[in-house]
Amino acid sequence: MRDLKKYIDISFKDFSRTYGDGIETFFDPLLYFLVWFEKLLINAPWPLIILVIAILAWIGSRSWLVVAGTICSFLVIGYFGMWKDTMSTLAIISVSTLLCISVGIPIGILMSRSDRLQSMVTPVLDVMQTIPSFVYLIPVVMLLGIGKVPGLIAVCIYAIPPIVRLTNLGIRLVDKEVLEAAESFGASYNQKLFGVQIPLALPNIFAGVNQTIMMALAMVVIASMIGVKGLGVPVLRAVSNQYLALGLLNGLAIVALAIIFDRISQSFGKRLQKHLESAHGV
C-alpha cells in the first residue's frame, strides 16, 4: 500500500517535471487574458465600471430595482475599501465563467447526443462536484505552481459540472414531437441543433450558467489559498487572525456579487422564454 502511494507520488512528480512547463505554456494565453482583464478593471475609473455594470444589469434584467441595488452595493464596496479586491474577484469569476461556458456547453451537447458518453461523463462530473477541493488543489499546484492559472483551473473544475449537466438535460428535454416536425421538413443536423434544440434548451442552459457563476464565487476563498488575488485573500487572513469585521465585510461583498450575478443572469434567462408568457388560457 505504501509502495503504491509512493509510486503514484513519484510518477506524478516526474510527470509534472517533464510536462509542467509545456502545460504552463499552453495556459499562457489564458493567463495573459486574465491579467489584462484584471488590470483593465482595476485601472479603469470606478464611475465608469459602475456605469458599465449598471448597463449590463439593465440589459440583463430590465429592472430598475436590480440596477439600483447593483449601483448601491458597488458604492458600498468602494466605500469600505474593497474595490480592488472586488475587481480581482470579478475578473477571475468572469474569465472562469466564460471558460466554463465555452468548454461546458459543447460537452453538454455531445453528451445529449449519446447515452454512452452521458454514462461516462456523469460519474466524472459527480467526482468533480463532490471531491473536496483541497484534494485536487494538490496536483494542480504540483503541475502549475501557485498563481492565477491554477486558481482558475480549480475554480473551473468545481464550477463546470452544472453547465454541462443542464445543457445535456435541456437538450434531452426538448419536445420529441417538435424535433420530429423539424425532421419531417428535412432539417439538417445543424438546423435541428441550432434552430430547435439549443433555443428550446436555453432556459435550462441559462440555469446552468447561473449555477456555474454561483459555484465559481463559492470557490473564491479556496482559490485564494493558491495565490488568486481578490476578496478571498482578506477572508483567509481574517480566518487565521480572527478578524471578525474584516471577514464579515469581505464575505458580504462576495454575497453582494453573487446576488447581482444571480439576479441578472436569472432574469435574462427568463426573458429568453418570452414565448411562454401570456400563453393561451393562462
Binding site: 417538435v178 425532421e183 428535412g186 433555443p199
Partner: protein, 248 residues
C-alpha cells in the same frame, strides 16, 4: 397493428399511383430482423409479445395511393396508423418492405436525398401540432422554407399567402402558445402547405380539436384540396383520423 391491408378505395378515374407501399413490416423490439421470420410464419401479435417481447406494428401492409386524392387510413387507437404514415417519409425505418414514391424507393435514399425528399415532396401535419414554440406564427409557417434556405423575403411572402388562406391574418407576430388549439393546427396546416409539397401527410391532424372546430377544419382542408387540385397537378393528400370522426 395495421395488417394485410389492401387498398380499399380505388378512385374511379384510375390515375397514376403516387405512393406505393409494398409488403411493409414494422416490429418494435430487440431483434426486429430476427422476428420477421416468426411473423411470416404466422405467429400472432399476442404470441410475439408474450414469447419475444416484441411488438408487431405493421404486418404485410400493401397500399397503392393514387395521385391527387385523399387516402384515409382508419383504425382503432394503437392500431399503427401513425407508425404507418411515418414510414412514408421515413421518420420511422421499416423492418422490411418497400415504399415507392413517384417510382423512387424512399428506403434506398441517402441521407441527403431523404432530406431533399422531405423538403420538397412530402410535408406533414401532426396530431399535437408540434409547432416551434420559440418562433412566431409567420416563422413557423415559413419553417419548411427556411430549412430549404429560400431567401427570407420570398419565404415571408409565400408563407403570408398561406396564413391568409387558413384565416390567421393578423396573428403573424403571435407565438403558438397564444393561439387556441384550432388556430395552432391551422398554423400546422399552413406550414405543411407552404413548402408546395405534392404529398401532405396528416397524422390525426384534427383529433385533438373539438368537434365543431374539427368540422370547420375539414371543410378548410376539402376546400384546399379542390383548389390545389387545379393549381398543382400532383396534389395528393393522405388523411388520417380516428374512424369515429370520418365524415369526408
Amino acid at each position: 397493428m395495421v395488417s394485410g391491408c389492401r387498398s380499399t378505395w380505388k378512385v374511379p378515374m384510375a390515375s397514376e399511383t403516387k405512393v406505393a407501399i409494398k409488403n411493409l413490416y414494422k416490429i418494435f423490439g430487440k431483434d426486429p430482423a430476427g422476428m420477421i421470420n416468426h411473423v411470416q410464419n404466422g405467429i400472432s401479435k399476442k404470441e410475439l409479445l408474450e414469447q419475444y417481447g416484441s411488438v408487431l406494428a405493421l404486418n404485410d401492409v400493401n397500399i397503392d395511393i393514387p395521385a391527387r386524392n385523399i387516402q384515409v387510413i382508419m383504425g382503432l387507437s394503437g392500431s399503427g396508423k401513425s407508425t404507418l404514415i411515418r414510414h412514408v417519409n421515413r421518420l420511422i425505418e421499416p423492418t422490411s418492405g418497400e415504399i415507392i414514391v413517384d417510382g423512387q424507393n424512399v428506403l434506398g435514399m441517402s441521407k441527403t436525398e431523404l432530406r431533399e425528399f422531405r423538403r420538397h415532396t412530402a410535408s406533414m401535419v401532426f396530431q399535437r401540432f408540434a409547432l416551434l414554440p420559440h418562433h412566431t406564427i409567420v416563422d413557423n409557417v415559413s419553417y419548411g422554407l427556411t430549412v430549404q434556405k429560400v431567401p427570407k423575403q420570398e419565404a415571408a411572402e409565400r408563407s403570408q399567402q398561406w396564413i391568409d388562406r387558413v384565416g390567421l391574418t393578423g396573428y403573424e407576430k403571435h407565438f403558438p402558445s397564444q393561439l387556441s388549439g384550432g388556430m395552432q393546427q391551422r398554423v400546422g396546416l399552413a406550414r405543411a402547405l407552404a413548402t408546395d409539397a405534392e404529398i401532405l401527410l396528416m397524422d390525426e391532424a384534427f383529433s385533438a380539436l373539438d368537434p365543431l372546430i374539427r368540422t370547420d377544419m375539414q371543410d378548410v382542408l376539402l376546400g384546399l384540396q379542390e383548389e390545389l387540385h387545379k393549381t398543382f397537378s400532383l396534389s395528393l393528400t393522405i388523411l388520417m383520423r380516428h374512424c369515429a370522426s370520418v365524415k369526408i
